[in-house]
């Protein structure tokens, strides 16, 4: 979090370092306490809904805890589900810093995964796994970058709304993948589920030692850290955020707004493409319609919950991964439909967005006047 030194120089110089420290803690804690408060409100509202349905909130939240976080098995389940969400959330969070709302990350994920799967084909059988995987990763990231980069370019050069175009391009991405997977790249060994040829077990990315979670999770966190540094500690990030604040002011300052927009979109698409690469290289082993599992869309939710902060995307991805992991247990034990956990996440989304209005309004979090 950006912590602004609470006292400007003209307000006096009598503050002790201890006082400054506490003021910093106070202002920073706003970003932790308000989301926690929002989560608590969500839980209360959702409990009311459960009571209306004649279900026990105590059971629900206990199952939510047990299914998502309560046992080592649950943690594995949660982290496995959260790893693609970190990357797809970044696909939303990075352009959002420039004021661009990209919701078509799923398209970049699907095409990135597809391109990763097919570029591997000429290398199968003779190249070592490291080479195959590197080629695949490059293909996946590049494809995703180009796919969302185009959205940024359309926005900058033609003024086309990036939200709509990225969503529509998702449908195009699915159509492109289906066209090739059911045509030129169809593996004839699998006639009833059109897929590309499998990359083979030897080329698959393994699990993190001692866990049932693949390396995509670690890479996701690393990318989140790198992008947080990029957006918050570099001139690129600074310029990007200026553009997000006021595009005319940014242009007046001589900032390369078009380049910033397109590169932020390309970075975003690269993240989603990387998620697609991991989906193929660590899970599916091939590309088919199952690549569109909705990670790109859940990523939007994660990014908004994280208030478009790259680092905060990690815990929120884990939270949503945990809710998804527990969703199954809740369905099975309470006989509730799958939509129940969707209602919970939807409610959480709305409450968190509403809670944004609280920032800067609670005196407790303001630095004390001397």
């Amino acid at each position: 979090m950006t912590v602004i030194n609470p006292m400007s120089s003209e307000a006096g110089t009598t503050l002790s370092p201890v006082r400054v420290f506490f003021d910093q803690v106070r202002t920073a804690s706003e970003y932790v306490i308000i989301p926690l408060l929002a989560l608590a409100v969500t839980c209360i509202l959702f409990s009311g809904l459960l009571l209306i349905l004649g279900q026990s909130p105590v059971d629900f939240f206990e199952l939510l805890w047990r299914g998502g976080f309560g046992t080592p098995f649950s943690w594995q389940n949660t982290l496995t589900r959260s790893s693609p969400l970190i990357l797809t959330a970044l696909c939303v969070a990075i352009p959002a810093q420039l004021g661009l709302v990209i919701i078509g990350g799923e398209g970049a994920l699907v095409l990135g995964g597809f391109m990763a799967a097919i570029t591997a084909l000429p290398f199968l059988g003779w190249a070592p796994p490291a080479v195959v995987l590197s080629v695949m990763a490059i293909a996946g990231v590049t494809t995703g970058a180009v796919w969302i980069g185009v959205v940024g370019a359309l926005r900058y050069y033609r003024g086309i709304n990036e939200t709509i175009s990225s969503l529509l391009m998702f449908y195009i991405a699915i159509a492109i993948m289906n066209f090739f997977v059911e045509g030129a790249f169809k593996d004839l060994a699998n006639p009833n589920k059109p897929s590309t040829k499998s990359i083979g077990d030897a080329n698959m990315i393994g699990k993190i030692p001692g866990m049932d979670v693949h390396w995509g999770f670690v890479v996701g966190i690393a990318v989140a850290v790198i992008l947080w540094v990029l957006m918050n500690r570099t001139t690129f990030g600074f310029a990007a955020r200026i553009t997000g604040g006021n595009i005319r002011a940014a242009k007046a300052q001589g900032l390369p707004v078009g380049l910033l927009m397109i590169s932020a979109c390309a970075i975003a698409g690269g993240c989603a493409g990387l998620a697609g690469f991991f989906e193929v290289a660590a899970i599916q082993g091939k590309a088919n319609a199952s690549l569109a599992a909705g990670y790109g869309f859940t990523g939007i939710l994660v990014a908004f919950l994280a208030r478009q902060n790259a680092l905060a995307a990690v815990p929120f991805a884990i939270l949503l991964g945990g809710i998804a992991a527990a969703g199954g247990l809740i369905q099975r034990r309470m006989g509730l439909p799958d939509a129940t956990v969707n209602v919970l996440t939807g409610l959480m989304f709305v409450v968190l967005l509403v809670s944004e209005t609280l920032y800067g309004r609670i005196p407790l979090f303001k630095p004390r006047e001397s």
Binding site: N192, K193, A293
Partner: protein
């Protein structure tokens, strides 16, 4: 899991429920029993989709009535690592001893890997994919729905006035093509003038395109509509609202079309599921492959609706008897719709012939293209 009958949770639950809900919320949690068999069912979509998933859910409901069997269900599980985790969770947290993975894409690598990881748990998958290379605690079960589509065709052939039948299909793959062909052959058996026009939507669940396809078929003169998509709900409702008659697919859609429903091709997974539960209860071993059609009661037709004419009912009942006797309806000489002879004169393929499983053409009388 240490799911003791009385636990802190029970106490908390009782306390929280008291005064608000009374005793009605008690018993919502059914802890996995140590004795008896817990069966986990996994669906790719919602259980009430009027289609593939509902057909399995109906069977799950019947399975719950079997003494000593507890059923746990999870819906909307995508065909990715999520299904691995669902299977593991059913085994680890619910104590499942038998898993039914009901969607095609669950099989490889997910179910195969889970079967390797949990050799004491039995896994069965609803498509004929198991081979002897796969783990022996895994297996496949399947129903030959094309046999029931043939009956649909017979009933449709005598319920149509325009002699034009419409078929909304997902993808031009073998299992879909054999249903379309069976429907046409059934219709032609009783009505040589019948034709079937097919529109492929391109995917298993595209409600908007399914509605468009249905409308287009009716606009082109079809007065009986059937389909092979995951959830026939949209197709049947659209056709009913346009005044066309309908034949169903996967599960019963009779309630959706009180005026025009003729009959429908339905799976009867209940037969298979109960068979498995019985076998395990008696300490037997489950077969790795279990497939069948009408004669084994693995598929059935929905009870006739208002759209079926008396002649249609009579002819369809007669055709059911023939199918149960395994009478061939793929009889040469048979041409595909491009004019190539696909079955020479004198040859025929009875139900269950492997030839039927690899069909990659549409027979003469079907208007449409596989490419």
């Amino acid at each position: 899991m240490s799911d003791l009958p009385i636990s802190r949770r029970r106490l908390l639950q009782t306390a929280s429920a008291a005064g608000v809900l009374g005793a009605s919320s008690l018993g919502l949690i059914n802890p996995a029993r140590a004795a008896g068999l817990t069966i986990g069912l996994i669906y790719v979509g919602p259980r009430d989709d009027y289609g593939w998933n509902q057909a399995h859910a109906v069977a799950a409901k019947a399975l719950k009535l079997v003494p000593g069997v507890k059923v746990v269900e999870e819906e909307n599980v995508p065909e990715t690592v999520a299904v691995t985790k669902t299977m593991e969770s059913m085994i680890e947290l619910d104590g499942a001893g038998l898993i039914f993975a009901t969607s095609f894409g669950y099989y490889s690598p997910y179910m195969v890997d889970a079967a390797k990881k949990y050799p004491k748990v039995q896994f069965r998958h609803a498509a004929p994919l198991w081979s002897s290379k796969d783990p022996t605690n895994a297996g496949s079960y399947f129903g030959y729905l094309d046999q029931a589509h043939y009956i649909d065709g017979v009933a449709a052939g005598l319920s149509t006035k325009s002699n034009k039948l419409g078929f909304v299909a997902a993808k031009p793959i073998s299992s879909v093509l054999s249903n379309i062909n069976s429907f046409l052959l059934g219709a032609r058996k009783v009505n040589p003038k019948a034709t079937v026009q097919v529109i492929f939507t391109g995917d298993w669940s595209l409600p908007v395109r399914e509605a468009e396809a249905t409308n287009a078929l009716i606009d082109a003169g079809a007065d009986v509509i059937t389909c092979h998509v995951d959830s026939p709900k949209v197709v049947i409702q659209t056709a009913e609202s346009r005044g066309a008659k309908t034949c169903g697919h996967n599960a019963s859609q009779a309630p959706l079309a009180p005026k025009g429903f003729i009959t429908g091709a339905e799976y009867k997974w209940e037969t298979i599921y109960k068979n498995y539960a019985d076998t395990l209860a008696k300490g037997g071993t489950l077969p790795n492959m279990m497939a069948g059609g009408y004669d084994l009661d693995f598929v059935q037709n929905t009870p006739y609706g208002a759209g079926a004419t008396p002649e249609a009912i009579k002819a369809a009942d007669a055709a059911k008897a023939e199918i149960k006797a395994k009478k061939a309806y793929y009889v040469g000489e048979l041409k595909d719709n491009k004019g190539n002879v696909v079955i020479p004169a004198g040859t025929s393929y009875a139900p269950y012939a492997p030839w039927i499983d690899s069909i990659n053409f549409l027979v003469e009388g079907v208007q449409g293209s596989t490419t």
